[in-house]
């Protein structure tokens, strides 16, 4: 009476059609992104208050940050968003190989972002700048640190999805996990789009 190709457990089988699962996952993911916005929101609020309170401190301190490195990282992250988006379209069109490669490129970009960040943190520490140096650097380390944490989580998620893509687990009929991974990765990019000017450019 029903298609026999779905090998999930009995509970899951009767649970939802693939279309319903797709639209539910998507809504769920957007809700989750909303919580992420609120999570970073606390930090943005703290930033707004302390910047308004101590404009000189922010102006002075932000010049310690390496604008070029920040710009390079912005470029890397935006490029990774592009490759991720291409990966999603590729899998929606059933091109498993292309999708897998695009996710791989995205992961490499993410790792590159981490490497640049590693050198940035290293040079701050070598100049004796730590999270407790002043309020600006507290914000800098908390904001970029939390963002970095999201990058790591994203890399793990994308790693799993990439392997599954190469194993041909996804195709034009079923691409939900790839799209969800993509949404998450774009959020990481979105947050950085604000962090970069706030911390590196206008202090």
């Amino acid at each position: 009476m029903e298609e026999a190709n779905m090998e999930h457990d009995a509970h899951h089988d009767l649970h939802m059609t693939p279309e319903e699962e797709y639209s539910s996952s998507k809504l769920g993911m957007w809700l989750f992104l909303g919580t992420e916005i609120m999570l970073f929101g606390g930090l943005f609020a703290a930033y707004a208050i302390f910047r308004a309170k101590y404009p000189e401190l922010f102006l002075e301190s932000h010049q310690e940050l390496n604008r070029e490195m920040g710009a390079v990282n912005t470029g890397i992250l935006i490029f990774s968003s592009l490759t991720m988006a291409i990966g999603v379209t590729a899998i929606q069109r059933g091109k498993q190989m292309l999708a897998g490669i695009m996710i791989l490129v995205t992961i490499i970009c993410g790792l590159g972002f981490g490497v640049v960040k590693y050198f940035e943190y290293g040079s701050k520490f070598s100049h004796h700048i730590y999270p407790d140096t002043n309020i600006f650097f507290s914000l800098y380390f908390m904001m970029t640190g939390l963002h970095m944490l999201h990058v790591f989580v994203g890399l793990i998620v994308l790693g799993v999805i990439m392997v599954m893509t190469f194993q041909k687990k996804f195709d034009e009929k079923y691409s939900t996990p790839v799209e969800m991974g993509g949404l998450y990765w774009h959020l990481v990019d979105l947050v950085w789009i604000y962090l970069f000017p706030l911390l590196y450019l206008v202090g």
Partner: protein, 102 residues
């Protein structure tokens, strides 16, 4: 529950669109870095946030396909942003209208 889901075709964005969005994002990034070398005083942050918001909007609308989502998704994409403004706005209001600042 779902007799007529066939009518709901998934929207697939073309590679060209993505590429154009990416070019726009790179141009905007360049602009925002470039103008950061000039000082507009109080306007600095306003300009930077304006450009960032255009970039964020482009990522959300095209890369994240928000453009093609239903109203509920739009609601839950925008509502947190409103709440965030509320949190920031009211906290700032409190901090800067105190007679005895802490």
């Amino acid at each position: 529950m779902s007799e007529n889901t066939n009518g709901h075709e998934k929207h697939i964005t073309s590679y060209t669109t993505y590429f154009l969005v990416w070019v726009a994002l790179m141009i905007l990034t360049f602009i925002t870095v470039y103008i950061s070398y000039f000082d507009f005083g109080q306007l600095n942050i306003a300009v930077a946030m304006f450009v960032a918001s255009i970039k964020a909007g482009a990522v959300a609308l095209f890369f994240m396909h928000l453009k093609f989502e239903d109203p509920i998704t739009w609601l839950y994409a925008l509502f947190p942003i409103g709440l965030l403004f509320l949190l920031i706005g009211m906290t700032i209001l409190d901090t800067f209208t105190r007679i005895f600042p802490i």
